[in-house]
Amino acid sequence: MTTIAKKKKAVQMDPTDVVQDLLKKYPTKVARKRAKQIMVNEAEGASTPEMGANVRTIPGIITMRGCTYAGCKGVILGPTRDIVNITHGPIGCGFYSWLTRRNQTHAETDADENFMTYAFSTDMNENDIVFGGEKKLKQAIQEAYDLFHPKAIAVFSTCPVGLIGDDVHAVSKEMKAKLGINIFGFSCEGYKGVSQSAGHHIANNQIFKHVVGTEGEVKVGEFKINLLGEYNIGGDGFEIDRILDACGITVISTFSGNSTYEQFATAHTADLNTVMCHRSINYVAEMMETKYGIPWIKVNFIGAEATAKSLRKIAQYFDSPKLTERVEAVIAQEMPAVKEVMDDVRSRTEGKTAMLFVGGSRAHHYQELFNEIGMRTISAGYEFAHRDDYEGRHVIPEIKIDADSRNIEELEVEPCSENYNPRKTQEELKKLEESGFKFKEYAGMIPDMPNKSLVIDDLNQYEAEKLIEIMKPDIFCAGIKEKYSVQKLGIPLKQLHNYDIGGPYAGFKGAINFFTDIDRMVNSKVWSYMKAPWQENPELSATYAWE
C-alpha cells in the first residue's frame, strides 16, 4: 500500500462500485448480511431505501461496537455523580468503565457527593460463580452503605450474573427496605441485545421506574426543560448550560451529563423535554410524555447554527416574546466570535472531506459542524443506531421486533394519577404544529447527507481501511479503537467519543473549539514526514561540496 496522504483524490469512483469493492472479499453469507447495512444515499428524488440497522454483529468481523453493560453503566449512569454504582461481576467490567468515558462533573464543594472517581465491584471469584453471588452482593451493598451513606445505590449485572441466576432486583429490593435508601438493579448483561443500545434502553427503563418522579419540585423557573441524551463529554453540557442559562431557560435535569440523583427524581417537573441523542434516550422522553404530559422535541447543540435553531425552537415552544427576545440577543452576541473563526478556518478547510462512524447521533450531528467549515461528509454511519436514526421516526411502526430486541423490557406506562399534567392544550399543540413546529420528530441522518454519499451501519475495521483506500477522506471520525489504524494510513482521526481530550464541541464556544481542532488536524505538518529523505531519493549518487 502506498502513502495515501500523498496521492490524494486519485479516482472518483462510482459509489455503487465502492460498495461492491467493500463486499467482495467476504464469505457469501457475510456479504449478503453486510449488503443490507451499506447504502448509497439517493437524497435527490428517489425514496430512501430501507437501512439495515440494530442487527447482530457478525462473529469474527472486527466491530466497533460494545456491549449492553457498557451502554447502561458506562454511558447512561456513568455521568451521574452521587449514585454509588456497583458492578456485580468479575473485576474487568467495573475496571474498564472506570472514568474512561470522560464525562465531566461539577461537584462544587468537598461536601458535595461525587463517586465518579471510584470503581465499585463485587469482584466475583470462582466460588461466587459456582455457588451464586447474591450473598456477596448484599454484603457489598451493606459495605458501600456503611462507608458512604449515599442517597442511592445502583447494581449493574455483567454476563455471568444472568447465567448463574443471581436476582439483582430482589437483592436490591431487600437492601432498599433494610437500609432505607433507594437501591435498584439493572439486568444489563453484556450478551443482551446486539450492541450498547440495549443497555441504553435498560438504563432508561430502570431510571424511569425507580427514580423519575420520586421527589417534588426543587428548581423553579419560568422556562423549565430537561436536556436528554447529553453526556457532558469534554464539558459539552457545561457549555450548553451556559447558553441556556444566558437565555433564562432553567435546566431541571440532564440525562445524564453532570447530573445528580435529585435531577432524575425531579425531572417530571420540567415543561419540555429536549432530546439531543435520540438513540440513547428517546425512551425516557416517550415515557415522560405519557406519564406526565411533557412534550418532547429533538434538538441539536452541535454546530453554531444548529444551536441557534434549537434555542429558537425552545423559545417558540414556550411562546413568550420575552424569551424569544433573550434567545435572539444571546445568538446575536455569540455568533460574531464563531463566524470569525469559522471564516478563517474555512479558508483552509473548504472542499475537504470527512467520514464519520460513531455513536447513535454523533455521526449525524457532527456533519453540521463540518458543513460550517465547508467540509463535505462523503460517508457516515452509526455503531449502534436503529433504522429510525437513519431514516427518521416515521419508520418506527415498520420496524420488525426481532429476538434480540424482544428480550429488552418495554415498560407499560400510563398517565400518572397525581402528576399527569399536559403542558399544552390540544389547541396550543395544534397551533404550534400548524406553524411548522414538530414534536416527537427526528428525521434521521440520511435526509441530511449529500447525494451519492455512502451510509454504512456498524462499519468494521476491514471496511474502514478499504473506504479510506478508495475514497481518501481528509479526516475520519470514530473512536479510540479505530484511531491509530487509520492514522497509520496518514489520515487524521478525530475521536468523537472522547474528543481526543479536546472539547467542549457543543454550543457556540464548542463550535470554535471544533473548527480550530479540525484545522490543526487536517493541516498538520506531520502527515508530510512519513518518508525519510533516503526513501524519497534512494539513489546513491550524491557528491559533497562546500557551498
Binding site: 472486527i62 474487568g92 470462582e126 451493606q142 450478551y191 518518508k531
Partner: protein, 459 residues
C-alpha cells in the same frame, strides 16, 4: 477540592466490595500476550463488549492499533453455547483478515456456560475452516479467576501448548519468557542477550507490534512478534528463563515437564540485583561470557546510585501494581535505601506477601503489604502514614493529586503519559531510567517546596 473525597481515614475491613481495583481481568492479559505472536489475531470468545474494552484499554496504553476479534455472543449463544459463533468467526477471520494464527481466549461468559474451545477448534479444522499452514491456539481465561497477569500467563502457556515441539535436535537457543512487560522491555531483554551472543527465542514479543512507526502504511499484522517457527522450536531449546513468577512460570514449567527443556524462574530484571541475577543466569545457561559492554552498563547504574544516594535514603514509597513488577521494584528501591512502606497488588497469590516481607524485613519503618488489595486501601494507608513518592499506574494520579505526592507511572495501564512503549525499565539501562524518573520526581518536589532563601541550584 479533592477527587477521592469519600475515602475515609479509618480503615474498615471489606469482605465483598472492591473499590478502585489494582487489577483487571484475565482476557486483556491474554490479548496482550497473543499480540506478541507474529501474524496473530487475538480472538475473544464472549460478548463483544469484552473485546471492545480490552482493545480500548490496550490502545489507550500503547497509542497503537490493537486488532482483535470477538464471538459476539447473543442471549441465544449464551443459552445454547458459543460453538456456532466461534466456528463462524474462525471462518470469517481467515477469509477476511488472513492471519497466520488465531489465539482464542475465553471470558467469564463462555467459561460459565462451559464452552470447550479446543474441541471447537478441532471441529473447525475437521470442517476445513482452518486453511493449510494456519493455526488456532487457545487459552482458558475466566475473568473470575486471578487477574490480567493470570490471563497473560495462561495465553503464554496455551500458545506453547499449541506450538512447542521436540524434534530431539537441540537448537542451541535459550527461551526467554519476558513477563507482562512493555515492548521496550522485551526489546531490551533481547538486546542484552544479543550483546552476550546468546541466541534466544523471546515469547511473547510485542516489540515492533505495539511500538510501531508511522510510515503511511497500516499493517494489521506488524513486523514484530515471535514467529510460528520460533514457537515450535521452543521445545528444542537448551533452557528457558522465565522472568516473573506470576506471568511467566507456567509456560516455562510446561516446557520443562512436557519437552524436558530445563527452566529457571527469576524475578523481572528490574533494578541492580534482579538484573545481575538475570545476566548471571543467562551466562550460566548459555555458557557465554558476560561482555564488557554489559559490565560497563552495570557500573553506570551503580555509579548513579552512589552519586545520588542522599536523595534516595529513607524516602518512603507507596507501590501498587502487578506482583512481578512490584516485587522487583520493592527490591530495587530497598537496595538503594528507599523504603517501600505501602505495597499492594490486586492479583491474588499467597507468595506475594511472603516475598515482600522478606525483601523489606530490615526496613526502618512498619510495612503494609496486601495481595488482593485495591487502591482504596492503598489510599487509606497513605492517609494514615504519608509517603514521599507513589509508584503505580495512571489511576494513581487521583491519590497523588489529593495527597500532593509525586507520582511515577509504572505498570498497566498508563494512559496519560508516553514513553513506556519506547524506553525500558528492565536491565541496567532500565534501572538508570527508573532512577532518573525517581530523582526527577523527588527533586522537582524539593524545588517546588524550597523557600526562596534555601533554593538550590545544583543537586
Amino acid at each position: 477540592m479533592t477527587l477521592l473525597r469519600h475515602t475515609p481515614l479509618e480503615i474498615k475491613d471489606r469482605k465483598a466490595l472492591s473499590i478502585n481495583p489494582a487489577k483487571t481481568c484475565q482476557p486483556v492479559g491474554a490479548m496482550y500476550a497473543a499480540l506478541g505472536i507474529h501474524g496473530c489475531l487475538p480472538h475473544s470468545h464472549g460478548s463483544q463488549g469484552c473485546c471492545a474494552y480490552h482493545r480500548s484499554a490496550l490502545t489507550r496504553h500503547y497509542k497503537e492499533p490493537v486488532s482483535a476479534a470477538t464471538s459476539s455472543f447473543t442471549e441465544g449463544s449464551s443459552v445454547f453455547g458459543g460453538q456456532a459463533n466461534l466456528l463462524q468467526a474462525i471462518n470469517n477471520i481467515f477469509t477476511v483478515y488472513e492471519p497466520d494464527v488465531i489465539a482464542v481466549h475465553t471470558t467469564c461468559l463462555s467459561e460459565t456456560i462451559g464452552d470447550d474451545v479446543p474441541q471447537i477448534a478441532d471441529k473447525a479444522r475437521q470442517d476445513g475452516k482452518i486453511p493449510e499452514g494456519k493455526f488456532v491456539v487457545s487459552a482458558s481465561t475466566p475473568s473470575y479467576v486471578g487477574s490480567h497477569v493470570t490471563g497473560f500467563a495462561n495465553m503464554v502457556m496455551g500458545t506453547l501448548k499449541g506450538f512447542a515441539e521436540k524434534t530431539g535436535k537441540k537448537n542451541g537457543k535459550v527461551n526467554l519468557i519476558p513477563g507482562f512487560v512493555e515492548p521496550s522491555d522485551m526489546e531490551e531483554i533481547k538486546r542484552l542477550a544479543a550483546a552476550m551472543g546468546v541466541k534466544t527465542i523471546l515469547f511473547p514479543d510485542t516489540s515492533g507490534v505495539l511500538n510501531g512507526p508511522l510510515t503511511g502504511e497500516y499493517k494489521m499484522f506488524p513486523d514484530g512478534g515471535t514467529t510460528v517457527d520460533e514457537l515450535r522450536s521452543t521445545g528444542d531449546s537448551i533452557g528457558t528463563l522465565a522472568l516473573g513468577e506470576w506471568a511467566s512460570a507456567d509456560g516455562a514449567k510446561y516446557l520443562d515437564s512436557t519437552h524436558k527443556v530445563p527452566c529457571k524462574i527469576l524475578d523481572l530484571p528490574i533494578g541492580l540485583k534482579a538484573t545481575d541475577r538475570f545476566i548471571d543466569a543467562l551466562r550460566l545457561i548459555s555458557g557465554r561470557h558476560v561482555t564488557d559492554l554489559i559490565t560497563h552498563e552495570r557500573g553506570q547504574l551503580v555509579d548513579m546510585i552512589s552519586d545520588m544516594h542522599q536523595y534516595f535514603y529513607h524516602k518512603k514509597v507507596a507501590l501498587v501494581g502487578d506482583p512481578d513488577q512490584v516485587i522487583a521494584l520493592t527490591e530495587f528501591l530497598t537496595s538503594i535505601d528507599m523504603c517501600p512502606v505501602h505495597i499492594v497488588t490486586g492479583t491474588p497469590g499467597k507468595k506475594f506477601e511472603a516475598r515482600i516481607k522478606e525483601i523489606t524485613k530490615d526496613s526502618p519503618f512498619p510495612v503494609n503489604i496486601k495481595s488482593r488489595g485495591d487502591m482504596f486501601l492503598l489510599h487509606q494507608w497513605i492517609k494514615n502514614d504519608p509517603v514521599d513518592l507513589l509508584i503505580g499506574n495512571t489511576y494513581c494520579k487521583y491519590i497523588a493529586r489529593d495527597e500532593d505526592i509525586p507520582l511515577i507511572r509504572h505498570g498497566f495501564p498508563i494512559i496519560d503519559r508516553v514513553g513506556h512503549q519506547y524506553f525500558p525499565t528492565v536491565g541496567y539501562k532500565g534501572g538508570l531510567r527508573l532512577l532518573e524518573k525517581i530523582l526527577d520526581a523527588l527533586l522537582t518536589r524539593i524545588d517546588r517546596d524550597a523557600s526562596e532563601d534555601c533554593f538550590e541550584l545544583a543537586y
